[in-house]
Symmetry: D2
Subunit: 328 residues, 4 copies
């Protein structure tokens, strides 16, 4: 593979952090090194790019990080990068430092910034999908999603112990502002009675019917999983209204929160992130730009970054039905 035109790349993480980002950084750095491409780490996402918060990275700078949650390059949401002035400064930093291309690890927002930057200044960019929400088109899974699923599920398993011991109903909120992937899959995996996600039109009457059915079948405790972005009502309101309808129920709410963003990445996430980080460098070496590296059906694929932003992974309708059938 020729990489005549690719001498120095930079890698950054931006937006919400996700377990496995470090594995992706490591893969970018080591693949670049293998192909004799210099690699710069940008600290603090686009803010760091604007400020020139750079660090030279070699194979040893990424030793013993594959197993760490978070991102050693830190992340941030940069308001300044949304302005032309900000991006101009970032471009100057790239020029000054001889950076030919950027590997941007993050989600929707990260990719939108990368796309505009690439179009304005001609800097090559390639995206790597890192977000626990799994809502990026162009890859079967995003980095961090599998780990977040396991974290959520393990937390729900623990809550189920106490729910069962006390014959309680728990409304448990999991992350996912726009997407119900975490809710649906962790809900199926923990045998939730019902799962409320933004992609599905839910109603209180359906929920109450499900409770009634469960009661008839002798279920004495129940767990309802609610995605953060559920549109019917907030998790607290859902609990409240259920209490009004079933005054005898002993109902509790648990918001799992930020534990879902951290933790040592799962094996699947580490391998996925390694493949994508490797793929990003390979893509740049092939001359690709304004694309995202993803894995679909176990193959490395590149998707126009525009599609990655605009299109969305759909919830598998079969899973919704399976969730319902297996709940009782």
């Amino acid at each position: 593979m020729g990489n005549a035109s690719l001498k120095k790349i930079a890698v950054l993480t931006s937006g919400g952090d996700a377990p496995g980002m470090n594995a992706a950084i490591r893969a970018v750095v080591r693949t670049a090194n293998y192909h004799k491409i210099d690699c710069i780490g940008v600290r603090g996402g686009y803010t760091g790019l604007i400020e020139g918060n750079f660090t030279k990275m070699g194979p040893r700078s990424v030793s013993n990080i594959i197993n760490l949650g978070g991102t050693i390059l830190r992340s941030a949401r940069s308001k300044e990068f949304r302005t032309e002035e900000g991006r101009q400064k970032a471009f100057e930093q790239c020029q000054k430092n001889g950076i030919d291309a950027l590997v941007c690890i993050g989600g929707d927002g990260t990719f939108t910034g990368a796309k505009i930057f690439a179009e304005e200044f001609g800097v090559k960019v390639i995206g790597v999908p890192g977000t626990i929400d799994n809502d990026i088109f162009g890859t079967d899974f995003t980095i961090g999603y599998d780990t977040a699923l396991n974290t959520a599920m393990e937390a729900i398993d623990k809550i189920r112990d106490t729910a069962t011991s006390h014959n309680r109903v728990f409304f448990i909120e999991v992350m996912g502002r726009d997407a119900g992937f975490i809710a649906l899959n962790s809900g199926i995996a923990s045998g939730a009675l019902d799962i409320l996600i933004p992609e599905k039109k839910d109603s209180l009457e359906d929920l109450f019917e499900t409770f009634e059915k469960a009661q008839k079948r002798g279920k004495t405790s129940s767990i309802v999983i609610v995605a953060e972005g559920e549109r019917l009502a907030s998790t607290y309101e859902l609990a409240e209204q259920t209490k009004q309808r079933f005054p005898d129920y002993d109902i509790r709410v648990s918001i799992l929160g930020h534990i879902q963003r951290g933790g040592a990445p799962s094996c699947a996430d580490r391998v996925l992130a390694s493949r994508m980080g490797y793929g990003a460098v390979v893509g740049l070496m092939k001359g690709l730009t304004n694309v995202m590296a993803g894995i679909r059906s176990n193959d490395l694929v590149f998707t126009p970054i525009e599609d990655a932003i605009k299109k969305h992974n759909e919830i598998n309708q079969d899973l919704l039905q399976i969730a319902e059938i297996l709940a009782m």
Copy 2:
């Protein structure tokens, strides 16, 4: 050991469940069986005692439960048992079923009920301290405490990943309505910047000073652990007021909640619960009643149940100082 007068005992779990209760139940049942004492399991705490919700238990009924969180006997808080009528019914159930003695696994409330019951009706009772809060006098540790510590700490570790990646301040609330044991120990174990507990007079100014000191030393992210029962202010209010004082801070709140009550018990909890369950039966065989079985300095000891209720384990003052010194 003679057990002429002890032919049949019953075991129940009451109050908030705690990981390791099943290991205690198993130990009670198998120790009784070993000494040819019949053993009855009472389902649903004192409510089950009143209603005669009994099940005969043998060594095989407790197979493969030592590793399970929650309690296979279920638990409940019984209002009826707080009335004389309720306890009268419970006594009749004991008589009808030939129950000589009760092993009551739980916390303060459980022991208070047991004590009154024993005094009113002469049924022998022995307490086993099962609560994650560790606030029972007469034992170094209560069943479930060590597991809850690990659960809280692991959750905080995960949050720290994301706190560090984003240079954020997290206020994390852990369980402990009256006691700061979980907060103090999980806080030390996770390198928390500050730890707020009900046993210590906290002030906003102290907290803010700590933040300032941390800032000066270059700490870019911080975790503050707040016990549920902290008296200064609620966790949300603390976060709010810190934000007003330090508007630049990116502050988040996380309430760990009920995950702390569940999960597979730790090794220490399983061994502790096994020793106490065993000790409870041994205590009853020795003719003891109205006492609690505990482990102090690695020895089985029996404490008058009255003391177990009234007195309290004190927070180790050294630990408070260590927490402060090691935070920076």
Copy 3:
């Protein structure tokens, strides 16, 4: 969906157990129940089928098992079922109990038995791939594989702590008699220096070269992952010969062994098993027989059981290269 001809099915687990088998059993039982099909659980695999070791299963018989490792139906390798007499007895048990179809959860051996049985006696069979080895054609992943990967990786992570502290070289053997999936993926995920698998022609000289390269680059500790079925030499021999070549190395061997078969299934495995268990019943209802239910590219697919046995999932060649590039 019509299921006129499907009144009663039986489900069994056979061969080596795998985490998630219980989730598959639960899905079979509850899907059957939903469609008003009776469901029988067979205890102890084909041996249980021969002996009529049956238990009627309803939705409540599979409560709270989705999170358990192992299989509540037990498993076994049956010599008798390999004989015509054995299978004849099994058929008689099916007839006597009105069993129309069998769901067989297991691997190669299980499917071979099912296929012969179906061909001899016309009993409908459908396979569900449950094995940690991931070596079954017709599905992207087998039940238990993802959990085993995480278990192996977490164990390797622990060993790496001590390897790093002592500047040691560890040869770690993971499961996989015929397939290197676990070795390759857990090796990549744990940053192994080298990975030896049966699908790849390994040589001692390559291995030694890798060690030399690592030494030059300043690596002070290393982990080499060896699949159980590696053909070059046994793990102990590999360690031995490495010691002869590099007498200064402090070399240790660790055989991870049976921990890889157990444990609570991961979220991915529970969802996968739920989908396949559901799919097996759906397949039978559609009149399919002698097929295996699998998930490929996120879709439920049915593969002739003959293909599932004869063909094999191939190791992704890219992954081999990625493993090598990222190791240093």
Copy 4:
């Protein structure tokens, strides 16, 4: 507290590593810093002391290590330090670098070295007990022991899943060359049928009797825990001889090995290590030398290092009986 005579201390880890050593290092460094005492980290144990492999440590050098297994200072077993010449060189390094006192984190061997060194050259030394084996006198628990217990128990739990599914007998070897603490406690916690430890006189006939009893009671799978240092026979031999006696048993052996040395430390270990590391500096400030810091009955105590080496923690006899009673 005056520390006029204590200007600079050094800290090292030596012998087998144990989870929590990093927490102890952190506590030493930060406590020293708090008291304005300089702190030097010695890399690679006594070898590093001899070679002057030193690094200046401040509060930030130990950020984010409290949760890491292993030891950031590395460890080693030094042959040279066992010679007078070696210790002479080490003393010269201490003099050259102005080191007044040494904090030595490790076990028996580490303490023996420290004691001789202190006696020969008058350098102040204080020991901190870090070993998973828990066999050090002068402290209720050693650093790493609690984590190792949980690691062993979780591994056994996983093996039990597969043992139960296949009606198998597993002989599982856990660490402990001279002490049975890990075996006894992890065995009780995992409901082992029998536990073989060096402190107890075991016989094959007792073991076989136990198997027979278990068989009579309907146990279909069993786990026997064997301490590494068991004197009756090796774990493989025990399995072999059991197979000869009970040819029908399906027997497997699992050697848990080095996973027991690694992993993120448990909460109890992190707190213990923090207290001891703090205590070591406090002890030195009080003018103590040739002692070990330990925690007994929740209090910081100092034990002559000679006693720590020569005396031994005894296995609790009650626990042996409890193990036996609860096994069936």
